[in-house]
Symmetry: C2
Subunit: 263 residues, 2 copies
Amino acid sequence: MPSALETPLSGNLLLRALRVPDRALLEPHLELKPYRRGEVLFEAGVDVSHISFPLGPCVAALVIGLQDGRAVETATVGHEGAIGGVVSQGLLPAFSRAVVQVPGSVLRVEAAVLQQIKQTSPGLRNLMTRYSDCLLAQVLQSVACNASHTIEARCSRWLLSLQDRLGSEVLPITHEVLAELLGVQRSYLTRTLRTLQEQGLIQVRRGRIIIESRPLMEAAACECHGAVKRHFETVLGAVYNASGTLVSLRPVPAEGPPMSQAV
Amino acid sequence: MPSALETPLSGNLLLRALRVPDRALLEPHLELKPYRRGEVLFEAGVDVSHISFPLGPCVAALVIGLQDGRAVETATVGHEGAIGGVVSQGLLPAFSRAVVQVPGSVLRVEAAVLQQIKQTSPGLRNLMTRYSDCLLAQVLQSVACNASHTIEARCSRWLLSLQDRLGSEVLPITHEVLAELLGVQRSYLTRTLRTLQEQGLIQVRRGRIIIESRPLMEAAACECHGAVKRHFETVLGAVYNASGTLVSLRPVPAEGPPMSQAV
DNA sequence: GGCTGTCTGTACACAAGTGCACAGATGCTC
DNA sequence: GAGCATCTGTGCACTTGTGTACAGACAGCC
């Protein structure tokens, strides 16, 4: 199986950013697991047994369930990151649920094993800490965003960030689901999307939304999209191609004395 | 000065939860620093040099500044926690600004020094990891909260969480400031507070809000307040007194073999 | 005790978003 | 290629919250 993982492993940018020896430590413990849309990686309140690195197009969301039955998205994680005990270091009960939004596979490792390996690998430790900080940044920005930006702007932001992760203009999502994630009314979201379509930003199809003009979308979206992206750049050295898609992270540098910082 | 710190140190619940030897490691490096209302602990984009443990009534907020000049609160930190590079482990640029809402003192330590001590103290490491998880939980819940709850509910939640930290019914805050933190219109917040007052939940005074009936407040607030509180209980063993005030955290247990979890 | 700056109360026109209901379109399955 | 479940479009009454403006109240200061 290790040989079969050779290719998949490069489908996650965090794993790809690791140096070869660190990757070698992790590789024997990685398990490939496919997920369908809507599948749950872990439930809120349950101990997180594994940490998962989404591959290729796979995108999951951290979701908070509310008493009235709604379930609002708090963070999106794709092939640029990891999900499950990233901050809690595993083995603490999860506060949120993790749900697959775009189907695909993940590479996962037992939380305890990852902790073990981190002990011996400063590079891995450093990388995971940096990613944690980016995840937090994303969430912090969303708090402010949800408090102050219009649904049109938030919706645009969300679509852009999905495109960043997928690298495709065709975003497989229904109004229903997107409205739930944003915590807004479905009928109003439909109207909003219609407006965006009339302005030539997107095309609306059944079950998918097609980005027509990324520049216009970026103008319609709030600053939050850019702010988070910039933090990914400075902290993880994220690299984006011309069309805004996230293509790689800065490789973890070789160990040196001044590395003690982000242990 | 170490002797002068003897008492202050117990004014922060995280520090108080540490075992004596761990505390001893930290103590010589702690510096007492007073802050006034509105003072900035660190700015967004700047490297965080220190990590601060608020004492007694001191409360700070993580704030995201928006392009239109507004500055919305994303998290509140009082004597139950710490602020500055908690997740990023210091020495990464801060994503948010930290502003003092209720004046008081903090004990602070250089980020690099704290990292150093963590290397040798599993207890401290474990505690900080748990606190990080609680901080994230608080922020995750706020994303969902801001997306779906009314201003009245959010305002009530906020007042309750300040009371938890202060342990007093008199909350020193103006409508102006609270409206900004919640990301809402000042005039509408005044109306909301008026409504709460007419229902006997609070009393409104110039520059302060007095909680009249905590039970009624809890009914008016959204579930988010309770959800975060419960996570603090399970993860940090937070203990609340009859009137809802946070009084202590579970002491860090003695080291044992099964401790490897939250390294 | 009067002045002054800040904070609070309220009014009003308006925009944004909800909640619900139902018609119509689309894609998939058999 | 007909049927069906799901998704999308739209209408309408209503609530929540914005934006702006201004009057009055409070507390601290000299």
